[in-house]
Structures are given as structure tokens and as C-alpha cells.
Amino acid sequence: MSDAVSSSIPYRRFGNRTILPGFHLSLGYTLIYVSLLVLIPMAFLVAKVFTEPFAATWAKITSDRAIASYMLSFGASGIAALINGVFGFIIAWVLVRYEFPGRRFADAVVDLPFALPTAVAGISLAVLYGKNGTFGEWVHWAVGPEAWRAGWATANSNIGVTIALTFIGLPFVVRTLQPVLEDLSTDIEEAAACLGATRWQTFWRIIVPAILPAWLTGMTLAFGRAVGEFGSVIFIASGVIGRGEITPLVIYTTLEEGLYSQAAALGAVMLVFSFLILVVVSLLQAWNGRVTGSASV
């Protein structure tokens, strides 16, 4: 992860104190590229927001429609991150600790949500969890048509949004936990067992504290990714204004309607949130470094 970068080679004080060539070329190219592609577009988005009077911007980002979309985006992403926290841990644990036929295959499949284009995942989930889809049919049968209409539907609903966000977030938890579980030495667990701890006590008092930072990191990453997700959600979401819209969808529709400053204001909110996620993740990784005793993951 990005934390590996902080450990620069100690004996080299500054770029030009080495015989390696290409410092100015590579850094110059990098800076120009990043400026053109990230800094300038981002600066103009923020500038666009600040050309409006603050009160007007505030009204835009706190409108009923916006607030409702934050609640759905953050709520569904939070629930999805918690579900992934549970199942992601079980999957990571099973993949690291147990031997069973098909383990390598299962391990490779975990990355599927990374590799599958979001729109493809979106239409597939919408069909699968729709009323006539394999899973949707079961749920429809189990809860009955009235409960289905009343909010228990797994597609065209906020439950569907949560399902899609869980789908795309799962690899983050598994892939963050796996290396930490692999590096976990079993010596301490043996010691705990020798001292009379039950397996359950060992789990809560030895294993969980050691993997907690990585666990939280994985869930934060899944949460951060879910809040910004668009393609896999819009097909399974109801999209009802004020009830079934995620924030990216509000931005998209306002953009299509030509309400640029409205879209920019909401975009700036999301951008601030992206920075927050980055900060939280780097704090969690620093904590992880202290817990696992390694400077870099």
C-alpha cells in the first residue's frame, strides 16, 4: 500500500546526491502529468464552487434532495462495509488458515468485483436480484408480494443498492486482511493455549487486537469506494428522487439537466470526502505499522 513509500532510503539526503540519472526528467514529467490531469481539473471544480456566493452553495449542498442522497449513499455504504467486514474476515481467514479443494480458485475469484466492469456487474445484479431473477424470485416468494412492494424488494430498492455496494467492496476487506493474517505468527497463539486459554479467548484477546487496524482499514476502503460507486448501483437502485438516489446519481442527473453549479457543489462535497478517506486510511495504516511492528505493509 501507499505507506511503503514513506520509507525512503536513509543515506540519500536529496535527489542529486546519487549517481542514478533521470531525477529531473522523471520527477518533472510526473509533476506535469499529475498537474494537468488531477490538480488543474480539481482546482477548477473548486474554483467554480467558490465563484458562487457561499449561501447559494450551502443551499445547494443542504437541499432536501442532497441530504436524502447522502443518507442513502453513506447509510448503504456503511451497512455494506459492515457486511463485508464480517464475510471478508471469514473469507480471508479460511483462505489463509485452512486447506481445502478449490482454495486457489476461490482466492482468485475474490478479485472478480475489481476486474468486472461496473456497468456489467450492475446489469447482472439487477437481473439476478430482480423479481424474475434467481435470487429475487426466492426473496419475492419468501417475503410475499406485499412486503416486496413495501420495501423488501432486492432490486429497484435501497436494499438493492446495499447489495451492489457489498459486491464491489468485498475484495478490499479480504485483500487488506490476508497479508496481516499470513504474517501473524502462531507462537503467541500456542503460548496462549499452553497458558490455558480457550480458542475463543485466544481469538478475541490475541488475534483480533493484532488484525484490528487492517480490518478497519479494509472496511474504510470498502466504505470509501462504495460512497463514490456509480455503475454497479444505478441499475439496481430505484432512482426515486428524494428516496432512492445515491449522491453520484444526483450529480449525474443535475449535470445532464445542465445545472452545472449544483453538480459542482455536490462534487466538491464528494471530493472533500475522498480526501477524508485518504487521511483516515493513512492514519489506520500508521496504527497497523505500530501493531504489526513493521514500518511498511
Partner: protein
Amino acid sequence: MATSATTLEPAPPQEAPRRRRIPRKATTEPLWVRLLLITIAVGFIAGFLLMPLFIIFKESLLKGIRVYYDALENPHAVSAIKLTLLTAAIVVPLNTLFGVAAAWAISRFSFPGKRALVTLIDLPLWVSPIVAGLMFVILFGRQGLLNSLFWSGGKQVFPILFEPAGIVIATLFVTFPFVARILIPLMQAQGSAEEEAALTLGARGWQTFVYITLPKIKWGLFYGIILCNARAIGEFGAVSAVSGHIQGLTNTIPLHIELMYNSSQMEAAFALASILSMLALLTLVLKSFFGWQAERQAKEALESTP
């Protein structure tokens, strides 16, 4: 285990070995817990991850192979495929070049603001694709602050927004961290002792790079490229915001899938989706292979450095 008594007597012949219960190791769980956890994990992976994949192929072939081929041979589908491939062909080499340059600068030299630069490189991964697209609409758009530069007389000076160029730029943004963030930790782990040796022995800078560095980072580079390519082909949100959604001109494969799906041409939508899914599966296979090789290379480097 260490507690077993050490006796010098020869072990009694085990003619009829009694079925002795092997005590469970202290660092694992009872059998039923293990089986339960494996069942949950495998069930979740099968139902939650593999089932959607299966649905794509099932839906795409629902009306037979003829409809499947027709959907792919539709001229709008063909032009979407062409635009997507063109986009990837421009974006992937540019971002690969950037990734190598950024990793070289960051892993080989120290300079003020390095952490900030790394954070900035990571940022596109956490920005919503819609916000990414929005940034370019604002930058190049008529309502933007630079409209005097990009617009004149109600027309764009350069055909960027709602044109293929806009799609390329938006895709560049969402895919540019991939190569860099794979290479940075790999090159940091490998160090630069070999490069320094080559330079001391009289190699030129480019020779050192081509003959020493490139072979060292080869697998990591492939790994990054394959991820970058997968995202470039599958990107939806960012491209959706900057595309004019003009069939045959500015629709990529994912946008065409959306159009087909929303106009209830499910077979066509899923036929194209199945193509992208096969690409995703290929990506997973290559990713496992390259990742495994890159890990081996990094490990070798760690072991050989004192």
C-alpha cells in the same frame, strides 16, 4: 510435540494400529468450526460473486447463438468496441510511461513533498468516477471558467467534450494510478544497487534502465498494465459524464450496454457484457500469474540485499 516423553526403548511394533484420536493442534479450531467457516466462505463466494458472472453468460445466450452474434455485429456495437479499443490503446501506454517515471522518481530519490505526491497519485482511486467526469465537464464546459479559451461562437475550439477526446481524458484520469502504485513498492523493495553498479562500470543512463531496471520490474509492470487496461475498457461513470452518448460516435462498450439495457434489449446488453466478462476473467488469470511472479521478484530482491 515437545512434551512427548523421550524413551530409548524401541517402539512396539504397530501391527494392529488402534485408531488413536489425534489431538487437535492448539492453533486451529475444532473440525465443525472449520467446516462451517469454509462452507460460509465458499457459499458467499459462489452465491455472491460467481452467480452474477453466471447470469451474464446465461442471459446473453438466452435467445440463442444467432441473436448473440447479431448483437455483436450491430454497427453501433462495432463502433462502441472500436472506440473502447482506441481509448485503451491511447490510455494504457501513456499511463504506463507515467507509472514508470513516477515510480523511478519516487523510489530512487528523496525530495520534499514526496508523500503529498504519492497521495495525489492515489487520489483518483477514491474519487467517484462521476466526480472525475464532472471535473472535466466543468473544466472544458461552456459554463466553466475557461470558456473563453475552449469555446467560441457556441462551438468548442478543440473537439474535447462530448467527443472521443473527452472520453480518452476521463479514462486517463481514472486509470493513471494503477501502474505507478504497483511499481513504487516493488522498486523500493528492490533498491538500486544493481543500477549503481552498472553506472559505475560505465553504462549510460538509458542502457542501465533498459538492461537492468526493466527486467527487474517486468512482472510488476505487466501486473499494473493489465489492471490499467481492465479499468480503461470497463470505465463507466467518468466516461458517461463526458460522453455525448451519440450512438456510433461517442459510445464506448459500457455505455452501449447501458443503452441496450435501458431500451430493454437485454440480449444485446448481455452479449456485450459477456465479452467484457471474458476479458475480466482473462484479467484475473493474468493478474494472478503476474502478481505471483512480481511477488517472487520482490522477495528475491529482499533476500539478496544485505
